[in-house]
Symmetry: C2
Subunit: 543 residues, 2 copies
């Protein structure tokens, strides 16, 4: 290394504008949990130990998508020692991905470097471009691995301690284990995917234009297939159609008549998650544009030249294609599946959190965005509770129901029956804790709980009615039908990120002044309102 020293002779002054490196070492030591040797100097050790006493809680945020980035932007990062881990050092405005595929928008227009966001917030957040490959909730650690060709000791892995872990790593494309999809289809989840699709579209036009091909082969190459009639697939099909008809057909006049775009959807319609009028409009528009919408076809295999699918009436069949985009929804990432096994969620498809975005059974772990779903507590929920509240005699359990506890909380005079007034007194809290109650009233076009009681008990006078527990149960019997999972959209992820950041920002205040609804099973109030879509002040969401 003789030469190395010679080479590094006093040149680094050029970029020197800030704090010295020794300060950095201390920050690293405090944050990365004993992995950096403290032996730098005596004084460093002294500073370090005094810091440990009042050190901030360590927060690790996994992911920089909609959920993670919105969380980060809204978090008061002075309150925590924040570390962000993501294989992408930027946030991408994903709804515009289909436009990247056809060059309508350039990638740089839809990305925002995470380090710029950090800098805007004062710079006391650390970012590691790496992927978390194991969550260890028992020891409160996450295992990470750099995805760049680094020469870290060993295999480029490192370990981070946390007090709070915010999991926002999103989902992966779901192939339903269909053979050939990973090898031959494009996905459309990342910027790189969109760029690859763009190159692939151009390649198809170029190769279809080559000499010595028969027309059948040219047609095959120019058959663009989109598997999945969800918003991403439909958006891409529309963008591609416009790209072909407005630009490519002029540049490739000899092959433009051979182009074909098909959307293959297993269900009966495309865009089923939206209003039926939207579905109808899209299907009609696609027909006018010459985009073939093939509903009721399930793709079972993809080879380099053919897509094989089954259909109820026609059976199995193959269709030749040139390029295919697979967009059939989202699946759980392996790291989350492993995590779910550790926390007794192995039998679930998706990681479940409570209404406060806390992962059940894990202290200090939160999950939001596409990697988790909120498992809404049901009014008719039945759960087991130890007879004695003492942990030493917790061997015997009895069955409890939420609805009985709600009745108990509402029945302030312990009369065994509820008056309308008693119900109305707790109704706001009930509706916050169990939003399905309000949704149910709305769905039945009822303005008030009294209507619900009337409905179950027959026509009665407003004030005089009293309900016993069975009547109360009967009145609320069907409200849980309104429990629905939130869609896996950018909007939901962003609102969750903002919600959770607000909770962390108000953690201290809410200890003294809880904001949430009445607790049903215990006394007092919940610290925060549960997460609910559109409930927050929209002006607060920094996007």
């Amino acid at each position: 290394m003789r030469f190395a020293a010679f080479f590094f002779d006093g040149v680094s002054r050029a970029f020197h504008q800030g704090p010295s490196f020794s300060k950095l070492v201390v920050i690293l030591a405090a944050s990365s949990g004993g992995l950096v040797a403290y032996a730098d100097s005596k004084s460093d050790q002294a500073i370090e130990s005094s810091q440990v006493a009042h050190r901030k809680k360590k927060m690790v945020v996994l992911g920089t998508g909609w959920a993670g980035t919105t969380f980060l932007k809204n978090l008061d990062s002075s309150l925590y020692d924040v570390q962000v881990v993501s294989p992408r050092n930027y946030f991408a405005f994903t709804p515009l991905l289909p436009s990247i595929t056809c060059g309508t928008v350039e990638p740089r227009s839809i990305v925002e470097p995470i380090r710029k966001i950090i800098k805007k917030k004062g710079g006391d957040i650390k970012f590691w471009e790496a992927e978390c490959f194991k969550i260890d909730p028992t020891n409160k650690k996450v295992h990470c691995r750099s995805n760049i060709g680094t020469n870290l000791d060993g295999n480029g892995e490192f370990l981070l301690d946390y007090d709070y872990l915010v999991i926002a790593i999103g989902a992966r494309a779901n192939t339903f284990n269909t053979p050939g999809v990973v090898e031959h289809c494009h996905f459309l989840k990342e910027i790189e995917d969109a760029q690859k699709i763009r190159r692939s579209v151009m390649d198809c036009f170029e190769s279809a234009s080559l000499p010595n091909l028969d027309e059948e082969e040219r047609k095959r190459i120019l058959h663009f297939v989109i598997v999945g009639g969800g918003p991403t697939g439909v958006e891409f099909a529309a963008e591609l159609h416009d790209f072909v008809s407005e630009d490519l057909s002029k540049l490739y006049p000899t092959v433009r008549d051979l182009v074909k775009i098909s959307v293959i959807e297993a269900g009966e319609h495309i865009l089923t998650m939206f209003d039926k009028r939207i579905t109808k409009f899209a299907e009609e528009k696609f027909q006018r544009d010459g985009i073939a919408v093939k509903t009721g076809y399930k793709v079972v295999e993809v080879s380099d030249k053919d897509i094989t699918m089954t259909n109820a009436s026609t059976g199995k069949m193959s269709v030749p294609y040139g390029m295919a985009v697979w967009s059939t929804g989202i699946g759980t990432r392996p790291v989350i599946m492993d995590f779910m096994k550790q926390i007794d969620q192995a039998n679930r498809r998706v990681l479940a959190t409570d209404e406060w975005l806390r992962v059940r059974g894990c202290d200090g772990v939160y999950a939001l965005g596409d990697c988790a779903t909120i498992s809404q507590r049901k009014v008719m929920n039945i759960f087991m509770r130890p007879i004695s509240s003492s942990p030493f005699s917790a061997s015997e359990n009895i069955k409890r129901e939420d609805i009985s506890l709600i009745f108990k909380v509402a029945d302030k005079d312990h009369s065994g029956t509820l008056t309308v007034k008693e119900i109305q007194d707790v109704l706001d809290d009930i509706c916050i804790r169990y939003p399905q109650v309000e949704l149910y009233l709305k769905s039945k076009q009822m303005s008030d709980i009294v209507d619900l009681i009337k409905d179950s008990k027959g026509d009665v006078q407003k004030e005089s009615v009293e309900l016993d527990i069975e009547e109360f149960k009967k009145a609320l019997a069907n409200v849980d039908s309104q429990v629905k999972n939130l869609p896996a959209t950018a909007q939901v992820a962003a609102q969750q990120g903002n919600y959770l950041a607000r909770c962390f920002n108000k953690m201290k205040e809410s200890d003294e002044n809880p904001e949430g609804p009445l607790r049903i099973r215990e006394s007092g109030r919940h610290r925060f309102r549960p997460f609910s879509l559109y409930a927050m002040d929209q002006a607060m969401v920094k996007l």
Copy 2:
């Protein structure tokens, strides 16, 4: 294929705006030399055979860089049946490549689709996105291979016939066979190279910022090495410096002091091809900026972490690095090397053309831009000529000199001596055919050939002097020292493209009215002036 037909049911109308496909078949048949079966229909055959009679000459253009694209833009494509072959379906404004590496400029801003250029010209040019991998001058064919994953019959290869072949495929990066360069270094010749460099720079900053690295390793990762002090390397070093100091040092405050940029140059100075004042300015500026310029170091090996080099005074040594860009000039592409073997140029480093950009010894083959050099005929050239001009007795050759023939042409009265007037009569033609004569006069600050004669014969009266052949030879003895190869720049390539297009456009007219200088070895005039830099009307160059 039952389903295929069902799938293609009358949807292609969507992109139908132009000529029918049957017309395309005829065009292809006429152009690709019998490779497409003519059996389409009787009428097609009739059209085809009538076209063969007065069919245009087939021109194949290889390459879409500066030379190829400028040629294409300036060519009157109605005169020829033009086919363009290139692995890139766009022209790139390469001088801005270094700016792509740091995001100053976006790739789409510096590219122009070839098909757009073709469309502007009326669309009667065919473009194939493929690479020529063999030139066959004997049979006047080029062998091409598509570089896209197509499913052409066989291995995706096809053959094109030509009457005229314009080779403008540029050069490859020259590694001088240094071990490890291809594996570990970036080049900077294509858009993709620049994009890779950009990602690599970001990756270096991200990986140097990871936890658990010692400072030595961080320094290694942030050591950016540019091998080669030519315009490309220097430009990149400067761009990178600005990128680091203006942007990255703000986003990566913890590692900014560890960044180091080095330019390694085997020669004594950087930018030796330019004026010395430019070299001095660049070296001083780099020193102020903290960019290390290491001249006199020759890189002999590159590994994944170290660059090994030799230096006259210090011997062999290694320096750790994070990213390296190799930019030490250009080398000949394999297809050109193979072509050179076929035409007896195997002993040359670069493909040679005459002053009219014609490849010597190849009928109808032209080469321009970085893939060829003009081999300027020397005044003192000695060549062999058959005693008889009849091809049947060409077994005996005699030595001839250009200078003697020039003397003979100038000596109109066959007196055996040249008067100043006789010399002046042919001087313009001589200077066009042998531009070194004019350059020599300029370099000696002589305004006229009389000065040259004076210089060689001593002080004499202007009009009275007469030169015999030996005196004439003596006067011109040193002019050939001014013969220089043109630099491998975009400017030269573009001017050559424009020059050659103009020649092809005027091919017919120039038969009757030759524009060139007097022929020395034969009677009459050359068809065109030889190519010379800056000699053309600049307004004509469409860039």
